[in-house]
């Protein structure tokens, strides 16, 4: 092939690169390794992640749920995982159809009219919701509850630091654990942003927040990090939310040390043209066959460049597929039952821990599968003792919230057996 294009050596392929910037040595990375050596190297590293073999009560934005076997099996079909963004719809209908199903399922569960093809994750979806609220209302202030996931708030701050958006953090009520302080809400407010269940697991009164926001012409943005809660809790849409964003990791996606997961983004029809991200819609060919295609792309960066609604290019394709398969395999009954089991098991654990001498539940609002318990001494100390006995007991709230030294965020899902819960209770005791 070299000869055919008139060259003698591979080096000549790079003639257009000036000599003085070519690398004259071998890269300082390993020699090529055999497949078996690579597996051994990675298994060696993975074995040092000892947390994965212990019962765990960690949540805080990443949840342990059982994923039906077919989820990971189906996403490994070549046709799904080795294809790309469906730029050529005639040979990408498989991808387009599942995106359309994902959009529909997200809209159904959030109770909203329309959802996009997915975002990187919940945190970036929330940041994009701030920017969209600013575009829709032409107002420059966002009020975010302090009970929204702290890392999400950090990401939103990064995204908005060079714009003209003011971010006001609203305190939560130390007695209920829910958003209490809306003193900053006024007619300059673009949106009130609240997470429910919030970072402490408490369920916010979304309907009442929506009323207050709408009274001054602001939007209500609801963030959901635990998507399993949709099976039991009133949907944000039914509570009159305007934008619903969140994290879909609970829909059968492995924790994978924090990613890749999948963000979702849902809103009302009237705001479609202000949405970020890809959208898939119905289209017909000239014989009247129904198909699907990416649509409304005039919002996007490849057309509008610096005036686009977002710089996002693709979606979170394969993870959105996994989430779609999960939701469909579980179906209506499964999504309801798994949500109810989470609520029941967490309620059981909350009750048992609350009965321990010196332990209490500091927040009175109802919770779903996560809750805060206050111990008799530092949470870090308690969790260290529990970990020494082989259990990851939860998250010390002081990791994110100063002044909450004795508080532990505990998450209980359907994957935690009663035996594990009882063990945790006895270790706390």
């Amino acid at each position: 092939m070299l000869k055919e294009i008139g060259l003698n050596t591979a080096e000549e392929l790079f003639r257009s690169i000036p000599e003085d910037i070519r690398l004259k040595r071998s890269l300082n990375v390993t020699e090529p390794l055999a497949e078996s050596e690579i597996i051994a190297a990675f298994e060696g590293m993975a074995s040092r992640n000892t947390a994965t073999v212990k019962p765990s009560f960690l949540g805080a934005g990443v949840y342990s749920h059982f994923s039906p076997t077919i989820v990971d099996h189906l996403i490994q079909r070549s046709e799904f995982f080795t294809s790309y963004t469906p730029y050529q719809p005639e040979i990408s209908q498989g991808t387009l159809q599942y995106i359309f199903e994902f959009q529909t399922l997200v809209a159904q569960l959030t109770g909203m009219e329309v959802a996009n093809a997915s975002m990187y994750d919940g945190s970036t979806a929330m940041a994009e919701a701030y920017l969209m609220a600013q575009r829709v209302t032409r107002r420059d202030k966002v009020i975010v509850a302090a009970s929204v996931h702290p890392e999400y708030r950090e990401v939103a701050r990064t995204y908005t630091q060079h714009g003209d958006l003011e971010i006001v953090t609203a305190n939560f009520d130390e007695a209920t654990g829910t958003l209490s302080d809306l003193s900053a809400l006024d007619e300059k407010t673009a949106a009130v942003v609240v997470q429910s269940p919030n970072f402490f697991g408490c369920i916010e009164d979304l309907s009442s927040l929506a009323k207050k926001a709408h009274a001054v012409g602001a939007l209500l943005v609801v963030v959901v990090t635990e998507a399993i809660s949709f099976g039991l809790l009133k949907s944000p849409g039914a509570c009159d939310a305007d934008i619903v964003v969140g994290e879909g990791q609970s829909w059968g996606i492995p924790a994978s040390f924090g990613g890749p997961h999948v963000g979702f983004f849902a809103t009302r029809d009237k705001f479609i043209r202000q949405m970020p991200g890809r959208l898939c819609g119905v289209a017909y060919d000239k014989n009247g066959n129904r198909g699907f295609t990416l649509t409304l792309s005039t919002r996007e960066q490849h057309i509008r460049r610096e005036k686009a609604t977002s710089n996002i290019c693709t979606n979170q394709g394969l993870i959105a597929l996994a989430a779609t398969i999960y939701m469909e395999a579980m179906g209506k009954k499964g999504l309801q039952e798994v949500a109810e089991q989470n609520a029941q098991k967490a309620a059981y654990a909350k009750k048992k821990i609350g009965e321990i001498e010196g332990f209490s539940a500091p927040f009175s609002a109802p919770t779903f599968n996560e809750f805060v318990v206050r111990g008799p001494k530092s949470a870090a100390e308690i969790l260290e003792t529990v970990r020494a006995k082989g259990v990851i007991g939860g998250l010390a709230l002081s990791h994110y919230y100063a002044g909450h030294d004795n508080d532990i965020l505990v998450c209980v899902t359907e994957t935690n057996s009663r035996e594990q819960i009882d063990e945790l209770v006895s270790l706390f005791r």
């Binding site: 790079f14 020699e31 990408s92 159904q108 994978s256 890749p260 979170q316 394709g317 179906g331 029941q344």
Partner: protein, 508 residues
């Protein structure tokens, strides 16, 4: 003769899952609840509970779901079927080994907030990949946190902004111009806007590279924050004046951002850090073979000079003298977090596995093969398809529809007709600077026979364009559905299923 595809078979007519739903069907089983059930009202009051019984959420069996997805999967083209020559996308082989190692339970099952002393293997894996990418780019500061290329770009330009704000203080507000070539990816200007920059466009020369005179002119106008350019650029040509570009922009007080989308032409051959680049993003899903997955997930590491490293997103993954790995958030000048947790970890595992598979010399050989394949393909098509630039390309070959357009056949038609020949089309109408652009990137993952077959198809289509242009203009003829009316779809968007939606096969 006319042999038509049989379209009545169930595999060609799979409905939406909602249209398949039957009340009462289930496809799952959970263990029985093993704690005493409380009255649900005592856990969550009725006013906070759903009362719509999850209306219209599908009810299907497990085999329904398996058939559903298996059937629709067959309507996709994929790398595993053959050449997928989307220029700028680097559709190379996705090794199954990478899938396997990413699924090792010790990685896949790890919670990001697990105690650091119980996550050492994951932190080490990240650290090793950071070191490898620093070596490959020649840029020592690395963050793997950005979720995709566009986010890596945003991170990169935010580093520039943070640097300028600190260096210039108040005066930084007079330095907000980001120079971007007219051939750039749309994400570049969109990302620049997110960092508060305004965009000025640099022209390209007839040779397809940055117009140095125009660059100097723009720089002399002042207010330059930096330049964002792609190298090899988006027409696949190496910017041979790269050092001068960097010197000019640095001389004007700005910094140099390189879009690393085309790093597959450079790995092991030349390093951005040695060219004068200050910051770059990589696409692990392009250069480092992590699967494109129908449009994601990606992973867009940001690599920068030592000088810029203090602005990288936190937390950073570092190693203590004791050998212990840890998360370090103690960087007060950091631009902040760009994503919850540490990035798309699962993609990082795959990329490191790719690097281990190829090793030092193998990575360079892959680059050579990618460039050779593109050059060969470009050479074979020369004379048939118009070549807009005389220069040698690198890992991509760029063409224009000029010859075929004389017969009314345009790039879109050629792309659609390629589908009938069994190929995925190239990137079309990008970059915008080439009329009827066709950007072909074969990657290293194809052999000569496949390249020859692709070339033959293009030559056949050129002949068809002259002899029977309608055949090409109405393509594809071999797919389940024909060209879709995208204008109608955008006019009256239907973005979700509803019970009143028309079923498959009926006209709008």
């Amino acid at each position: 003769m006319s042999i038509k595809k049989v379209t009545s078979h169930p595999t060609q007519n799979e409905a939406l899952i909602f249209e398949r739903s039957q009340t009462g069907r289930v496809g799952y089983r959970l263990p029985k609840l093993d704690v005493e059930a409380m009255n649900i009202d005592d856990i969550v009051p009725a006013a906070l509970r759903r009362d719509d019984d999850l209306a219209d959420v599908p009810e299907v069996s497990e085999v329904d779901v398996v058939r559903h997805f298996t059937r629709i999967s067959t309507w996709n083209y994929s790398i595993d079927l053959g050449i997928y020559p989307l220029g700028s996308c680097t559709m190379k082989y996705n090794s199954r080994l990478n899938e396997k190692v990413a699924r090792i339970p010790g990685f896949a099952g790890l919670h990001p907030l697990a105690p650091q002393e119980e996550s050492q293997g994951a932190l080490e894996m990240i650290y090793r990949l950071q070191e490898a990418l620093a070596e490959i780019t020649g840029l020592p500061g690395v963050s793997l946190q950005p979720a995709a290329g566009a986010q890596g770009e945003m991170t990169g330009v935010m580093l520039i902004r943070a640097f300028l704000d600190e260096r210039d203080g108040e005066a930084s507000k007079d330095r907000r111009v980001m120079l971007i070539p007219d051939s750039a990816h749309g994400t570049n200007p969109a990302s620049a806007a997110m960092a508060g920059f305004t965009v000025k466009t640099i022209r390209s020369t007839a040779d397809g590279i940055t117009d140095m005179d125009h660059l100097r002119e723009l720089c002399s106008e002042g207010g330059i924050a930096g330049v964002m350019f792609t190298n090899p650029n988006t027409v696949g040509i190496f910017e041979r004046n790269i050092k001068e570009i960097c010197d000019t922009v640095h001389g004007a007080g700005g910094l140099v951002y390189m879009d690393g989308a085309n790093m597959n032409a450079l790995v092991g051959v030349a390093r951005p850090g040695d060219m004068g680049v200050d910051v770059i993003h990589l696409n692990l899903h392009k250069t480092f073979s992590t699967p494109h997955g129908g449009g994601g997930p990606g992973c867009g590491p940001c690599c920068c000079t030592a000088e810029l490293a203090k602005y990288l997103p936190v937390p950073r993954i570092e190693k203590k003298a004791s050998g212990e790995f840890f998360l370090n958030s103690d960087y007060p000048n950091s631009i902040g977090r760009v994503k919850a947790f540490y990035g798309n970890f699962g993609m990082m595992v795959r990329a490191l596995s790719y690097i281990y598979t190829h090793g030092n010399d193998g990575l360079k050989e892959a680059t050579e093969a990618a460039v050779l394949n593109a050059r060969y393909l470009g050479h074979k098509l020369e004379g048939t398809i118009a070549k807009p630039f005389p220069s040698d390309g690198m890992h991509e070959a760029i063409f224009s529809h000029k010859n075929q357009a004389k017969n009314g056949v345009v790039t879109l038609d050629i792309a659609k007709r390629l589908i009938d020949y069994g190929f995925h089309p190239m990137t079309i109408y990008f970059p915008l600077v080439v009329e009827g652009a066709m950007l072909i990137e074969p990657t290293e993952s194809v052999g000569r026979a496949d390249l020859d077959a692709f070339v033959e198809a293009m030559i056949d289509i050129d002949r068809e364009a002259k002899e029977d242009p309608d055949l090409v203009k109405n393509a594809p003829h071999s797919t389940r559905i024909g060209r879709l009316d995208e204008a109608a779809a955008a006019r009256k968007p239907v973005l979700r299923w509803g019970p009143d939606m028309e079923a498959a096969g009926t006209s709008a």
